[in-house]
């Protein structure tokens, strides 16, 4: 079983390398995508910085804390795009009939979707995310003990898994309804807009909405909140907030199960 596991990773890595080379073929596109990823992320930074400077006292968070929040979210997003970004456009692949073909191959369909193409935008996202993240940590007055570092790492992984979980869940619907693409777009917008603010500036009810209905809070707000000592004012019991990475993992597993269930009921593109 260990061998089949390593084998699977080897195959996945091979395909990824091929996909990457395939992206290089479309020369202009490749460079534009990286550049664009960088520009996009830089602009989000500008945007956040602007609002930060204009509006003081964001729910009791200092600017360095908000910076860590924004950076964490950005890093998680970059990692998600590289790991699972193709799930976002699943509706398009369904339309093309790719899924029907994937069902005939001896590889899990979800993995094939992940490997459909190399998500070049992710490179730009990641570059800026890492840069900002490094900057945020440098500027943070926190004492970075090993346990804090470990928790932050867990938080980043958890955040990535959570973003993946949300889009995987929506794409489970994409297997049956092409219009679910609009939901993916919308969620992406909402999480980009609201994921970069400490949710404590919103009324409690709204914060709850963004924690339990659309679990944006778990991506960066809760873990970073716990790290920066806002544990009490996060709007959820401290145990859950601290356990955000675990909640994220659970949601990820849940979303994958949901996706498999949806796939079992897949009826294919029209005959």
């Amino acid at each position: 079983m260990w061998r089949s596991f390593t084998e699977a990773w080897r195959v996945a890595w091979q395909i990824t390398a091929l996909n990457f080379r395939a992206q290089l073929e479309y020369r202009v596109e490749f460079l534009i995508r990286i550049a664009f990823g960088i520009v996009w992320q830089l602009s989000i930074i500008v945007f956040a910085a602007v609002l930060l400077s204009k509006f003081s006292g964001m729910g009791g968070w200092t600017s360095s804390q908000i910076l860590l929040l924004v950076a964490t979210r950005m890093l998680c997003n970059g990692l998600y795009v590289l790991y699972c970004g193709s799930v976002f456009s699943l509706a398009f692949y369904v339309q093309q009939g790719l899924i029907d073909g994937y069902l005939l191959r001896p590889m899990p369909v979800f993995r094939q979707v992940q490997l459909v193409a190399f998500q070049t935008n992710g490179i730009g996202d990641l570059l800026v995310g890492v840069g900002l993240f490094a900057g945020a940590i440098a500027r943070s007055p926190l004492d970075w003990t090993p346990s804090r570092i470990a928790y932050l790492a867990a938080g980043v992984i958890g955040g990535t898994l959570l973003i993946t979980a949300v889009f995987t869940a929506v794409s489970a619907a994409a297997l049956h309804f092409p219009a679910s693409w609009y939901w993916s777009l919308w969620i992406s917008e909402v999480s980009a807009t609201f994921g970069s603010y400490p949710l404590s500036i919103l009324p409690r009810a709204v914060g709850e909405l963004l924690t339990w209905l659309l679990p944006i809070a778990f991506i960066a707000y809760l873990p970073v909140g716990v790290l920066t000592g806002h544990g009490a004012g996060l709007g959820v019991p401290i145990a859950i907030a601290a356990g955000a990475p675990l909640v994220a993992l659970a949601m990820y597993i849940g979303s994958r199960l949901l996706w498999n269930w949806s796939l079992r009921h897949y009826t294919g593109v029209n005959g």
């Binding site: 534009i32 602007v50 509006f55 219009a179 919103l202």
Partner: protein, 272 residues
Amino acid sequence: MIEPNPRQPLALRAAWITPLGELLAPPRIAATAIRMVIQIFLVVYLWHGLYSHTSTNSGLDRGQAVTFAVLAVLITRIRGLDRFAGRDTVFQHLAYGTIVYWFLRPLAPRRYYVLRALGDQAYGFAWVVVGYAACLASGVIEPPASGTAAAACAASLLLGQAVLYELTLLTDLMCFWTMHNDSAVQMIQFAQNLLSGAYAPLWYFPAWFITMSSFLPFQSTLNTPLSLYIGRIPVRQAPGDLLFQTAWVVALALISRLLWGRASRRVAVQGG
């Protein structure tokens, strides 16, 4: 061969295609309504939250900021109705090869594109009107700063839509050269979102940013009309801004006109 009958409502029929597709799917209508309501809800609370400690910021008070933000959400309804689910975007037509039929009909592809875009925008506008009425009635947003402000806003909005139409057209035309135009689309979308003021009114940004974006067409699609509405831009300044918008419309229209010709020729030379 049949001679064209001038009394056929071709324009209406073609324009009505996307709305008809939407109306035939009640779940989609419901989903659109839900997303719109939730977004307005979130946005209202966000700006209330941001303004909890200040009364005025960058020349905007809370009421104005909230109005701006909510109207921004509504107006993004008119943003090119996404035809993706209907396999009806230019990109998809090129991907599936069904674009050939655009060039086989006695209706110029360019004219067909315009009719479809008009239909989509008219449909989106219906949503805007409904949403606006509801928000105004419930007191979520403020009425316009004055009658002339409202008129100026309307004119500016019309021009802004024309600008946006041209920008969308340009990214669609790009498909004819490279099927991998997602980056260009994303770039324009992103520039559009950021520089139009959809995320936040441009007034909060540093002076250099505002100056920079004043040279670009994006702010004319949202920031200008809405700022006129809430009175952030005084009405006496309106004619200048409107003229600027018009200039952009003309410039972009010329470019897209040129590219349509090139695109058709490219199909002729290289195939779909």
